[in-house]
Amino acid sequence: MSPDEAGKAKKIGSSPWVFHVNTGGCNGCDIEIVDTLTPYFDVERFGIKRVSSPKHADILLVTGPVTRQSYGTLMNAYEAAPDPKLVIAIGNCACGGGICHDSFTALGGVDKAIPVDVYVPGCPPRPEALIHGALLALGKADQKITRKTYREDDNGEARAPV
């Protein structure tokens, strides 16, 4: 996490209000987001609250591959949210376009439109994974995976991971 993100996370502290922007998702991730608010997962434990206006938002939860039609509204929501704000891309479509990454009508990922602070892949991510993503954004959890590179070297020995 960059110092800039850490600073933002600190300012948001233990009162992250989230605004949910669906940019053409299939509803899978969207429903899991709502699921985290309900009794079994209840993210209100962490002070997370879903708000109805981007003006109240600290975190934008963006789902979907950013369809052409929703591009403008995503930009509006992003611009309307006051600083400091974080963007979490939720689900495969938002992270990298998912199954519709090469669609003629989708940008194929939120980071093609606005800067993304945390990626939460999954199709859809489990509620626990969403909580982990949110806590990671707030600097309260550690990232579990990192980029891995495996290379075979000349004598055929495995040299991994780099």
């Binding site: 300012k11 209000w17 209100e44 206006s53 003006k55 949210a81 400091p84």
Partner: protein, 304 residues
Amino acid sequence: MNVAILALNVVLAIIAAPLIDGLRRVITARLQNRAGPPVTQSWHDIAKLLRKETIPPEGAGFLVSVLPALTLTLSIAMFATISTVTTQSPIEGGGIVFIELAILSAFVFAAAGSASRNPYGVVGGSREVILATLVEPSIIVSLTTLIVLRGSTTLDDAPIGLGFGVPLLVAAVAYLLSVLAEGGRIPFDVAEAESELSGGPLMEYGGPPLAAMKLGLYVRSLALFSIPKFFLTALLPPGSLGEGLSVTVIALYLASLLLCIILVSLAESLSARFRLVEASRFYAAVLALSLVALVLVYAVPGAR
């Protein structure tokens, strides 16, 4: 005017009001079988909002920058007029001021919504005005009943050994019901109604102005929740409470606050939101009840 008590009240308002809201959130969460936030959550919310950037509502001018702060100021002033943890009230005749500020702050809140020029803000603001005109009278009447019974327009905890009677009981019930309505929670959150109006008057505000509006609402709730205590202390025999800080007053205060919070939480978790029509019908019934109380004060011999 007692400046020390006034200052104490102002500090108390800012510290306690978010806690009251936090407690409500916890109780509601428990009634929904979930963990809920920490009790201090609403504090964190206010603190966080103060750290945020202010983006003024689009196309709106002077009013939107003034009204949020005004909402907060009026609410704090409202709370400051009554005796809280002490037996004395900071202001003589504070009861009248309290009623006036209660009405004023409701309308300023509505105006803040309408001033944002967002269609939802406007609709929410107009709903708030309609509701306020309906619910404020029942608060006025039931408070007036108390004032008449106690024989003083000052809202303090002077124990007067008031006999327990039907008028007092009816007035207390009417007051509790109108306070429920004033709390702005389900089923009475007609003006903010997140799933209908996306927060209504609050929608276009963000950052510190939103903090002011939110804190204003919390303090206003706290102020209204503080009144039931006077129904209780009035029953105590004269001279049973000393001057200054009183343990009995604090205990009764906490008990009555808790009662109000539980009532609000129960209503919130056990019903669907009223429509404007249903809410008005409810308020009309409450107003009728409070009028009955006032009439009884004069009708029942020896009530005063």
